[in-house]
Amino acid sequence: MNPREAAASVVDPEIRVITIDELGILRAVEEDPASGRVTVTITPTYTGCPAMDVIRADIRRALAVAGHADAEVRTVFSPPWSTDWISDRGRAKLAAAGIAPPAPVPAAGVVSLTLAVRCPQCGSPETEQVSRFGSTACKALWRCRSCSEPFDHLKAL
């Protein structure tokens, strides 16, 4: 497996249905042709995301298993991560796991129009926010008024 594929296969430790590539936090994978040293660049979703240490360790482990033991993981903060970086495939996986994917981030200066968050269980748009903050830094807690199920919503950032 090449280094890019190996790093891209690492699963987010807190949302275990989506890879770090699909989540949009894997920024670059470079291999030095001479030394074979691999440099992986990642960015956190939230500044205080407690999963970053585990993600770094998982990347090094995946690279070692793929035969790239000499690896370095760098963390960058600019440009800041946005939920717009989550791939379509990632969004589909989130929805299938019962986590409502985020709406597109409104452009600055544009009057924001809040789109209804659809219930990932029954598809109803009749939902309400229970709390802006949820089980991880990137999620909010919602409830469906049609099927009464609570669900996580990855909030637009």
């Binding site: 500044t47 205080g48 903060f77 800041p80 709390s131 903050f133 807690l141 909030k155």
Partner: protein
């Protein structure tokens, strides 16, 4: 008086001490969702604190990293504003502190994102998105309690009266800093004015403006907070998970 090091250290200390105070609510908040919310906000503050303190350590160039700055300084060496070290009080006092802090940090981080220092630009651009959620959350509670029952209104007004004097220190002019805090005052006043009006609350008329945090002269509360935050690192120097 302040170079980029003092400025960055002050902002890092604001975030660190705010995080530690908010974390005191964990397992004690009035409802489960609020417990999770306050812990999340504390985590965001801690994330910003780590970035700011790491950078402050680099600016200082004396070999101090984020841990050395967080765990191995005494109260007189901390540069946070007094607002963040005040005890949590009741839930209304905590919400007044959270709301005022976020109403200051949002324009602050937004201004940092456009300043001349590229490291502060990256930190500001990242942290301001999180601050927007904190401001939303604080404003929501200030309105809900202020425009709620007679008792919730009384408590929220009392909290505003108690905390408001400490907000002035945040905007002390510092023209040499990467962002002069005095330039943030109008955005802050606008936010606060709009939210308090909707919450049927008023600002106290008194001009009392306690200060000293930015020069290391703190209230009696900070040393107790630091004692708890630093005890493990001081008892076991260099301890790691």
């Amino acid at each position: 008086m302040n170079g980029p090091f003092d400025f960055t250290l002050g902002l890092g200390d604001d975030a660190l001490i705010a995080a530690q105070r908010l974390a005191e609510w964990t397992t004690r908040a009035p409802e489960m969702e609020e417990d999770v919310a306050l812990a999340n906000i504390a985590l965001d503050q801690l994330g910003a604190a780590r970035l700011l303190l790491s950078y402050a350590g680099e600016l200082e160039g004396a070999g101090r990293d984020e841990d050395a700055l967080a765990y191995l300084r005494d109260d007189r060496e901390f540069r946070n504003a007094l607002l963040v070290e005040l005890p949590n009080g009741d839930f209304a006092v905590t919400m007044a502190k959270l709301f005022f802090l976020a109403a200051y940090q949002l324009p602050l981080y937004t201004a940092l994102a456009g300043c001349a220092d590229e490291r502060l630009v990256a930190i500001g651009a990242k942290a301001r998105k999180e601050s927007a959620y904190h401001l939303d959350h604080g404003a929501l509670w200030v309105k809900r309690l202020g425009d709620g029952t007679e008792e919730s209104h009384r408590r929220m007004q009392s909290a505003v009266d108690q905390v408001w004097p400490y907000t002035h220190e945040l905007f002390a002019a510092d023209p040499a800093a990467p962002v002069d805090p005095a330039t943030l005052r109008s955005a802050f006043d606008e936010t606060v004015g709009a939210v308090l009006a909707e919450a049927t609350l008023t600002l106290p008329g008194s001009g009392w403006a306690p200060a000293g945090g930015r020069t290391g002269v703190h209230t009696e509360h900070l040393a107790y907070l630091l004692a708890e935050m630093q005890v493990l690192h001081r008892a076991h120097p260099g301890a790691q998970w």
